[in-house]
Symmetry: C2
Subunit: 389 residues, 2 copies
């Protein structure tokens, strides 16, 4: 186990009707003028927008608002949010939505207190020194941004997806009401479940030895999604299954299951090029890429795939044919993804063979390799993309 | 799953040589005058005392000190600590030791800023409104106090063990260097591992339905201890096994595996009377009580014991004889405790039959029942104590 620091100071308020606590929580964390940040019309249709704004008004909390966050959130709207925060002297950002809205809110939070262009943080040109406090009301279990220091933004000029992180971006509070996710369509639910699983897998597939506790935590989260996701696909209003997925989604990405080890993240980075170029759902893109990454790298570095097969997918161990065990584990994962309605090929997500080299070059951006469990060369990345054709 | 709040804001600095970060961390959290609180001579023998005080001196941090914390920490020393903090204008408490030292530090932290007697908090007569910030350097993986809001103190006048909790008592930082635990004798190591397991079991045995994610997390921690504890007993200087146990110990009690469910805590409370009366090691007392509690309550409420047997102890399911499955699970746990050198009877811990009624009355203290998984009556508690004879 490697040395590590772990810090997850977010206050999580979990359960039914917890959105009614929002004004009280904002005030507890010092907010007096709020930017209410959200996506499309779904929170208006569901009534959540009204409940939140009523609660803010009753508490006498001033707020302005900026909707319109799209999946794979864009730099343009972030700049608009920064201008608004500066003009209106906003001192607290409330993100109501999923990972895209929260990531966009984090970008606005850091950018509002920075003299330069906020994309400096995402381009590695500057380090976040301060940020407005943020709170979230989560409406989809997927990205884990509600408990993480991470944010990913798509640069509209280049259509490159870039991430950054800072403990200053961890939400002060996150309100997690599973009932708010009960209206999600099955495809988005399944894509969220996939994103959660791959957040875990990026940590699980590590060459760091002697990490039993975090291996077991990873397996616990994966097992939970394997059990709960099909229940939700079958019965979208299953509150209890939604609740288990929602808490698992936070745990999958606040890094409690990833500390003390070198993590991989190749699947995420390979996928980011797909969602940046085709605006495909991130979880759906991962459903295509991650199993192909597994098939490819398991031949080069099999050791962790035995655990994945036997502990996560209950494949019986066969000492004389470990390669069969590994394959059965990956096949079980593929069958699971298919069962919950996720795609498995470029064709299903509208990706094109002729873009593969361009995506690979954007991904590597001058670096020799991608990932850590296996250090993928340019040829390796191309081979993984091509296996999706 | 029940509604819940989860808040674990402690900064964990984990790994080799992390004790050298102590002054920097105290300063980060605003400390200028420190009370260094510790137990017996072991931190002096090991050199840790010198390393810590050197680090404080080099950073120019003023400190006073109070050693002498005993296992099952006492109210008298807490009062001494409170006087010292008030006299010396201490603004930060550094606990160097195990759960007893940290629990004592928490009591001093709350008592120093309170006009009445600090035991009011433990007797339910007052609520903690403020507390000095505390940091910890952990020297034994066991109590989980390094990441919890809890503290347990033995009232010297009555020899009753009393607990309280407050988010204000959560350490600002905890330094977890597994190497510091490598000099622990096997008995203390095994007792620590037992305490960790029972912290999980108190949460696992719950009648709250639909808690797959926290069930799985509980099982992950238990599986880790089952794997790592015997490795450490065999090879006390096994850093990696120590590391896994140390992180598991924190996770077992910061409540990440216990949220959203009614918890039990009967085994802990039944044990507390033993350690208060005979000054027996808390983990060793739990090794006696917890399996007997399991044997007793599994007949009255079997449902969770099937999971315990099959998922934690890998007992094959036998649908036609679930009672055998349950018994095999409990027997596996008992065999494990025996293997790591833990006691299983009153005789081994110096407890006496003639004290059973007195302990039961002290435990219930006028209440009708104890515990939640099964609500134990006075007769039930007596029967559990008697089964240890």
């Amino acid at each position: 186990m490697d040395n590590f620091a772990f810090y997850s100071p977010t206050y999580f308020d979990f359960g039914k009707d917890t959105e009614y606590h929002v004004a009280e929580l904002i005030q507890k964390y010092g907010g007096t003028k709020v930017l209410l940040h959200y996506g499309g019309g779904s929170i208006k249709k569901s009534g959540l927008y009204d409940r939140v704004t009523d609660t803010l008004k009753k508490a006498g909390l001033a707020f302005c608002e900026l909707g319109g966050v799209k999946p794979n959130p864009r730099s343009g709207l972030v700049r608009e949010g920064i201008r608004l925060c500066q003009q209106e002297n906003v001192d607290f950002i409330l993100a109501v939505g999923g990972g895209s809205t929260i990531d966009s809110a984090k970008a606005i939070a850091a950018g509002s207190l920075y003299d330069g262009d906020f994309m400096d943080f995402y381009r590695g040109k500057a380090k976040i020194q301060k940020a407005l406090p943020i709170g979230t009301i989560l409406t989809i279990a997927a990205a884990g941004s509600e408990g993480s220091p991470n944010t990913v933004i798509t640069d509209e000029e280049t259509m490159v997806k870039k991430g950054t992180k800072s403990d200053l971006l961890r939400p002060k509070f996150s309100i997690l009401n599973p009932a708010l996710t009960c209206t999600l369509p099955p495809y988005q639910t399944a894509a969220g479940a996939t994103d959660i699983m791959i957040h875990v897998c990026e940590r699980y597939f590590s060459n760091t030895e002697e990490v039993e506790i975090t291996d077991r935590l990873c397996e616990a989260i994966l097992k939970t999604i394997i059990y709960e996701a099909p229940r939700v696909i079958e019965n979208p209003e299953h509150y209890e299954a939604r609740a288990n997925i929602m808490w698992a989604g936070m745990l999958a990405h606040n890094n409690v299951c990833g500390v003390g080890r070198v993590q991989d993240w190749a699947s995420h980075h390979i996928e980011h090029e797909l969602s940046a170029l085709y605006d495909v759902n991130h979880g759906a893109g991962l459903a295509v890429i991650a199993p192909l990454w597994m098939r490819y790298v398991s031949k080069m570095n099999p050791h962790k795939f035995i655990l994945f097969a036997t502990r996560v997918w209950d494949v019986p161990m066969d000492e004389s044919h470990p390669e069969d065990v590994i394959l059965k584990g990956i096949e079980a994962f593929e069958a699971f993804l298919k069962k919950i309605g996720m795609p498995s090929s470029f064709a299903e997500i509208g990706a094109r063979e002729e873009d593969i080299e361009k995506m690979t070059d954007k991904l590597l951006n001058g670096r020799e390799t991608e990932g850590n469990y296996v250090k993928l060369t340019r040829d390796d990345v191309i081979a993984i993309y091509r296996s999706a054709l």
